[in-house]
């Protein structure tokens, strides 16, 4: 479903590449967790895979489409939940969803029904007509997820979707992601929460300093690590415990 071959990204003015020859392969219905410390290149990878940014080198195909040649066609397959609350704060969630839905080509009853469905999925039916700026952190994250799944994408990209929110909102988001996984949505997901990744992901790729340093199903990686008891232990053994600022 997603194929990444030798992707390198060097930012203007930077001496070191943010990504160095990244290779990834994600099958349909799979959930891939992109794990890595701060500055590892996770967000850069998501930006490239979602066509928001062009790589310096390498190839990416989504659903068999080369995203560098056919970005607009590839975009109709993917949904994005950015790390930031990528919504217009002065608009209500319903207005945000109407706006983004129209950009996805949805109109009329189809859009109306899908908005109602997404609001129900994220538990915001009662607050849908309030401005996003008035929401709590958890509500904003749920609204952000609703905008990402509005058009029922085949592949969903999530960049740290549960960071800094209350336990209830986090639980609801993870529950919905599990449901999406079970209904066949391919998910590529970055997080700092290892227990989340272990629970949700069929496969994880650990990247550090722009390079992939491990890839595989979480249980297999832990089992083969020779001494680590869980994914977090494996993560620290591969990336170290020193701070990354």
């Amino acid at each position: 479903m997603v194929s990444v071959r030798g992707v390198t990204k060097v930012y203007r003015g930077s001496a070191t590449p943010a990504l160095k020859g990244l290779d990834l392969s994600v099958r349909e219905g799979e959930v891939l967790g992109l794990l890595g410390p701060n500055g590892a290149g996770k967000t850069t990878a998501i930006s490239i895979l979602t066509t928001a940014m062009a790589p310096t080198e390498g190839q990416v195909s989504i659903g068999g489409l080369d995203i560098l040649k056919y970005p607009i066609e590839a975009r109709s397959l993917l949904g994005v939940v950015p790390q930031e609350i990528a919504l217009y704060p002065s608009l209500t969630t319903r207005e945000n969803l109407q706006y983004f839905g129209r950009l996805y080509g949805m109109r009329g009853a189809l859009l109306r029904d899908r908005i109602a469905e997404c609001l129900q999925v994220v538990g915001l039916q009662q607050k849908a007509d309030e401005a996003v700026s008035t929401y709590s952190g958890g509500m904003k994250r749920r609204a952000n997820l609703a905008a990402g799944i509005l058009h029922s994408p085949a592949i969903l990209f999530l960049d740290e979707p549960t960071v800094g929110i209350d336990a209830q909102s986090r639980g609801l988001i993870l529950e919905r992601l599990l449901h999406l996984r079970d209904t066949g949505t391919t998910i590529i997901y970055t997080t700092h929460y290892m227990e989340e990744a272990a629970m949700l992901c069929s496969s994880v790729a650990i990247i550090d300093e722009g390079r992939k340093i491990a890839e595989g199903p979480p249980n297999d990686l832990v089992r083969d690590s020779g001494g680590c008891t869980n994914l977090e232990g494996l993560f620290f053994s591969l990336t170290g415990k020193h701070l990354r600022d």
């Binding site: 930006s47 979602t50 994005v80």
Partner: protein, 426 residues
């Protein structure tokens, strides 16, 4: 709130500036009773100055304050507190001194009584007192008028002196050579010299405004101010537009938009269309103010001319130019502070250079040369071609083309910067 400010600010600007400019015009040409004349002389000079100043059309003259004849003290109090703008003080003995001086000048000129002591007459000075708030141009106009009037008075006195002296010179000369009887007969046979001859100028100056195209009357200050300040307001779209772009970049909305199945061109076109429509709505509001509100406040009515298509095209191209500039500022600036500071200051500078605040023809030569690079100057010149010169689309076309070129250039630069920096703008 942002939208309210966007519409309210130019509306207030156009009303205030139009009224102010209208008042400036009235101060120069229409206002009555702005000068107090204190005549301590009570002679011909004071009367001439009062009559000629009042008749000049530049100012109105009063000689009484609160029902009493103005004296120096009360007049200076009235000017000092700004109730009147100018006080002209005609000193005691001015007429008599001027008459003596004129006679002395004529006698000296004709080399008569050369043995007499010439240059002994001192003419007291006329004093002019200005309200400190009165600007230089108004002072210049008053002093210029006063100078012309006093010169005419002097000339009249010299004429009068000539009329008296010449017969005396002839009489004395003939009397010395031919005796008093013949001298009397000769003087009686001389034509009467008319001392009032110099009072009526032979050369008159008539001023009028060149009217071209479909103009039926000279342009008013409203015709100049309304489009000028409308442009100023329209270009302020730069601030909210650039800030919205930075917000989109910072909160990830831009990234979401760039991952949607629409082309970047479609996204940009949507944004430009929305903001250009806001500019057009601003412009329409300002035109309505010029057409409906300003006349209610005493100014002339805005005349839209006979070429509404040209007006629409200039407004549209100015809207696009302002929107393009806003996109450029929003793409280049890395923070709200940068965008709001650079955006607003650049618009004010472009407006100042473009002749919105002070007409370009009144600027120093260097500034006039820089002025031609201001997009607001292009828009203003295009509007003036329609509203003031009556030239229609033909006169506005250069400005329209320049504004559209500026829009395209801004869009290309924005696209280049966005591509180089990526959706986060880093």
């Amino acid at each position: 709130m942002g939208l309210l400010v966007l519409f309210l600010m130019p509306a207030i600007l156009v009303v205030v500036i139009s009224l102010v400019q209208e008042n400036v015009a009235k101060t120069f040409f229409e206002t009555r009773e702005s000068i107090i004349l204190v005549d301590e002389d009570h002679g011909d000079v004071g009367q001439s100055i009062e009559r000629d100043l009042a008749g000049s059309g530049i100012v109105g003259v009063v000689t009484t304050l609160d029902g009493r004849t103005a004296d120096k003290r009360s007049a200076l109090d009235a000017v000092g507190c700004g109730r009147y703008q100018v006080c002209i003080l005609i000193p005691r003995g001015l007429t008599a001194a001027l008459q003596k001086k004129a006679r002395e000048a004529v006698e000296t000129t004709l080399s008569w009584k050369r043995d007499g002591k010439g240059g002994g007459v001192v003419v007291p000075e006329i004093s002019v007192y200005f309200d400190p708030a009165v600007q230089g141009s108004f002072r210049g106009a008053v002093l210029g008028s006063l100078g012309r009037i006093t010169l005419a008075v002097e000339t009249r006195e010299e004429d009068r002196a000539l009329a008296e002296v010449i017969p005396q010179i002839i009489r004395e000369s003939v009397e010395r050579s031919m005796g008093p009887e013949i001298a009397g007969a000769v003087v009686r046979s001389l034509p009467n010299l008319n001392p009032g001859l110099g009072g009526v100028p032979a050369i008159r100056v008539r001023h009028q405004v060149v009217m071209s195209g479909g103009m039926t009357s000279p342009p008013t200050s409203v015709q100049q101010n309304v489009p000028a300040w409308a442009l100023f307001g329209m270009f302020f779209i730069v601030v909210p537009l650039s800030e919205s772009l930075i917000t989109e970049r910072r909160n990830g909305t831009l990234m979401r938009l760039l991952t949607m199945p629409v082309s970047t061109l479609a996204l940009v076109t949507g944004k430009v269309t929305a903001y250009a429509l806001v500019c057009m709505a601003q412009f329409t509001l300002i035109l309505l103010i010029g057409k409906l509100l300003l006349p209610m406040l005493g100014t002339p009515r805005l005349d839209l001319g006979s070429d509404p298509l040209a007006v629409f095209l200039v407004a549209l191209s100015a809207s696009l130019a302002a929107t393009g500039f806003g996109l450029l500022v929003g793409t280049v600036a890395r923070s709200f502070e940068q965008a709001s500071m650079f955006g607003s200051v650049s618009v004010v500078v472009a407006a100042a250079l473009g002749g919105i605040m002070v007409p370009a023809y009144a600027m120093p030569a260097t500034m006039r040369q820089i002025s031609v690079f201001s997009p607001l100057a292009w828009g203003l010149n295009a509007f003036l071609a329609i509203f003031v010169r009556g030239q229609g689309l033909r006169g506005a076309l250069p400005g329209i083309l320049l504004l559209l070129s500026f829009f395209l250039m801004s869009m290309l630069l924005s696209g280049y910067v966005l591509l180089r920096r990526g959706p986060s703008g880093a």
